[in-house]
Amino acid sequence: MKYKDYYAVMGVDRKASAEEIKNAYRKLARKYHPDVSKEKDAEEKFKELGEAYETLRDPEKRAAYDQLGSHRPGQEFKPPPGWEQQFGGGSFSFEDIDLGDLFAGMMGGTHRAGRRGGKVPIPGEDYEVTAHITLEEAYRGTEVNLELTVPEYDASGFAHRVRRAFKARIPKGATDGQRLRLPGKGGKGSNGGRDGDLYLNIALHPHRLFRASGHDLFLDLPLAPWEAVLGASVQVPTLGGPVQLKVPPGTSAGRQLRIAGRGLPKPQGGEGDLFAIVQIAVPTAAGERERALFKELAQASSFNPRGHFAEEAAK
């Protein structure tokens, strides 16, 4: 069995009082609870914390844990004599058994060894995991490979934490932050209990060109000054391949040109839209002829883009 230092996980002294342990749990739970935390690895850290707290909050479990003495985290050790008897008459080995699952099951007789022998249906555990996918994958649908540490139960009902690989099919229709439920893909139920579900939290990788909001996509569309003034037909990339977009004459920067149905597909049918946001781009180094033409234009034009400044000042 591998040793885990529950006191270190909770950041408390080995002599800490029950009150100090409770306060430490509350403080760290606020930091790492997956529903409120933005910390990286919050899920893992919260599991560790929960396991440590479950053992240290219970005086009997804490006393049993203290009996193990102090070891380096991860160090292999043998439980004191007498433990085997408590857990099954010495007929099985403690090797590979997860310390947390052992404590979770002791004292109350609630470990799965006890429950598995009975007739009470136990539903399988739900798993929840974030799947990072690209915008292209969200558009077409994709299959992702995920890795999760999950408890698996041996014949005696004891849990062993194992790293398991999952394949999950993500149908098209994903958006950032969207949740997908895959029924029956979680932990196995026992005694006729239903299998758990797998919940995927979809996170989209940032894209070089497109930005997603719900099922709508946004794209910066740089135009040359003359294209903006005269209008143009320009080729625009979309996730489904390039399309021609008509830019009307007199298009100012910031204008959003909607390309209907070129966003992300929606799960209930239909698609979001693609919005091209106009930017007026100018050549960084204009040639002599270009400069001459712009000068001529400046002299010929009566256009004043800041007319409203003067109006405001006159008020």
């Binding site: 509350r26 029924p183 719900g214 910031g254």
Partner: protein, 105 residues
């Protein structure tokens, strides 16, 4: 509710009250409390059998975990969930504004 098939949890898909209980791990009493406190709203509050948008499952599961892990009473669960919902709405709005900003903000 279709079983065995991947399901997007969006508001257009409906779950019956019993399904929401089963999938979230909340009891019916707890779920009705969340409705009373305005945290969850059924599609039609006057309907004989309540149905909820499937996106509410995310909220209900979060409520169950918060209650269990922080040992919260129903009022406190309602408060935390309501604040988390507001945070989520603001994040969505921020994402939308960033997407509309030339250069992506």
């Amino acid at each position: 509710m279709k079983t065995g098939q991947a399901m997007w949890l969006h508001e257009r898909l409906e779950l019956a009250l019993e399904e929401l209980c089963e999938l979230s791990g909340l009891s019916e009493t707890e779920l009705r409390e969340l409705v009373d406190y305005g945290v969850l709203a059924p599609v039609d509050p006057d309907a004989q059998h309540w149905a909820f948008g499937a996106d509410r499952l995310v909220v209900a599961r979060s409520a169950r975990r918060l209650r269990q892990d922080f040992d919260l009473d129903p009022h406190a669960v309602a408060l935390v969930v309501a604040l988390l919902e507001r945070l989520r709405d603001l994040e969505e709005e921020l994402r939308d504004l960033r997407a509309r900003l030339p250069g992506g903000g």
